[in-house]
């Protein structure tokens, strides 16, 4: 059974990530009173990009994209997607925390090789933004680990199934709110779309990607969305007992994220960091203190 999940969960992440990419375009189109592209438009785009020829800027340019894509797939292996996680016994949340940084790092490595000023600005913004949401995110994860006394995502899900889900229980509700506040930043949507700002720095780190590179970067983007949302569902909303329920829960969180995306304009990067380090950090800190003093 576990062997099966090794194959199934990356495939599910890929499918759901691409579905989310298509749905987000459709969702935004409907909010703007347009018809919008078909749901499978990302598939068409990726097929088109894979059949285009593109230049490479050197070995690191190739390897960086592969690194970030591979690390995203490995993070997915740690997630119980409504079942058991394939890698549940090896490191849990600590490994996820570490591996999640490899995604932006791989893109940074690869983009740095291209020596395009737009790419450099995009990368520095991406790292600044990552530092911005990583601080409250660490506090949230610390609070959860202290509360449940474990670093395994699977055990946290199981503990929530016995009692209430974390976001509905007293001290952890603060962590839940803080996670919801940093979710748009983790997904990279507006108001935190500072990294790939197309009108401003010509899509930032992806500016030099064409053809297959762009296809891989698009898939990686879909996986990042999948990871951000599924972490919330697993850690704070009690996971699910089967993949279908899990997917439905993810859909709700996704709708929230893209409602925010449609409603707000883009912040400047220092405004984004100022926001991230004020309210979400404060709330996550209160949550952490409460968990540490009151406990279970």
């Amino acid at each position: 059974m576990r062997i099966l999940w090794f194959v199934l969960s990356p495939l599910m992440a890929l499918a759901v990530g691409l579905f989310f990419l298509g749905l987000s375009r459709r969702f935004m189109a409907r909010i703007q009173w347009r018809v919008g592209p078909p749901l499978y438009q990302p598939l068409i785009d990726i097929l088109r990009q894979f059949t285009q020829k593109s230049v490479s800027h050197g070995p690191l340019f190739d390897l960086g994209v592969v690194l970030s894509l591979a690390s995203s797939f490995i993070v997915v292996l740690f997630m119980p997607l409504g079942g058991t996680a394939p890698l549940s016994s090896s490191g849990g949340l600590l490994a996820v925390l570490y591996l999640m940084l490899l995604g932006p790092l791989g893109i940074a490595l690869s983009g740095g090789e291209a020596a395009n000023p737009n790419v450099s600005i995009g990368i520095s913004r991406k790292l600044i933004l990552a530092v911005g949401y990583e601080v409250p995110f660490l506090m949230i994860v610390l609070a959860l680990m202290t509360y449940y006394g474990t670093i395994s995502i699977g055990e946290i899900v199981a503990a929530q199934r016995e009692s209430a889900s974390a976001i509905a229980s007293f001290p952890l509700v603060f962590s839940g709110i803080a996670y919801l506040l940093i979710l748009p930043a983790m997904l990279g949507v507006r108001p935190f779309e500072v990294v790939g700002a197309a009108q401003e720095i010509s899509s930032g780190p992806a500016a030099e990607y064409g053809g297959p590179y762009l296809a891989l970067a698009t898939i990686q983007h879909g996986l990042t969305m999948f990871i951000g949302i599924s972490l919330f569902v697993n850690l704070l909303w009690g996971g699910a007992s089967n993949p279908v329920v899990f997917f439905l829960k993810m859909l709700v969180v996704f709708a929230f994220g893209f409602w925010v995306n449609a409603a707000f304009p883009r912040l400047r990067v220092e405004q984004a960091v100022r926001y991230l380090w004020r309210w979400p950090t404060l709330i996550a800190f209160v949550g952490l203190i409460l968990v540490a003093t009151i406990g279970r």
Binding site: R34, P37, D45, Q52, K53, S54, A198, S203, G210, G211
Partner: protein
């Protein structure tokens, strides 16, 4: 539109993908560009046909040159065109790109864009309405279907001639030829 016909997807997946995922880079030189914003936003919504604007040349496969081309922008247009990954399609927008339009005797605009980069199709008019862009896109679909949108192949084949034309207008160009051809011989042949 045959986007929903599964058999065509199975028969020629790449061709279909190129048809229905036209990522356009707009070269906003002339007056014609004012028709592009309504085309891509809520009023005409080009995204429902898969036509979306992209920010950089590397991500694009459709090049729209919207209007007259001055000598200075020609240099940027050539660089942008050469940076786009193949296969790529170009569409000239408005009569200025066809024969110079109302600028044909101007001292600093070029008249025939097709001499410098290969153009797959033109949209006539001064200026064309957004509907004309959609007509152009459907024509481009037909051309791709029949393998007739082969500007990038023509560019590769006749690169020496194109480069010679470019150098005649721009003088010394600061980047080397992108294909290995005898540009010098082409120039001498023409002049001698």
């Amino acid at each position: 539109m045959d986007r929903n016909q599964l058999m065509k997807w199975i028969k020629a997946p790449t061709k279909m993908a190129h048809k229905y995922s036209l990522n356009a880079v707009y070269f906003c030189t002339g007056c014609g560009v004012i028709e592009v914003p309504p085309t891509i936003t809520s009023r005409w919504d080009a995204e429902r046909f898969g036509v979306v604007p992209t920010a950089t040349a590397r991500q694009a496969n459709l090049f729209l040159i919207t209007g007259y081309v001055s000598v200075k922008t020609l240099r940027a247009i050539i660089r942008t065109y050469e940076q786009m990954p193949e296969p790529k399609y170009t569409v000239g927008f408005g009569s200025c790109t066809i024969n110079g339009g109302m600028y044909w005797d101007s001292y600093n605009t070029i008249n025939q864009l097709d001499k410098y980069i290969p153009i797959d199709g033109y949209i006539a008019g001064c200026m064309p309405r957004p509907e004309a862009i959609f007509v152009a896109v459907t024509h481009l679909w037909t051309l791709i279907d029949k393998d007739m949108a082969d500007g990038y192949k023509r560019y590769r084949k006749n690169y020496a001639a194109y480069r010679a034309n470019q150098e005649m207008i721009l003088g010394e160009m600061e980047w080397p030829p992108i294909f290995q051809t005898e540009v010098a011989t082409a120039i001498t042949e023409r002049e001698g």
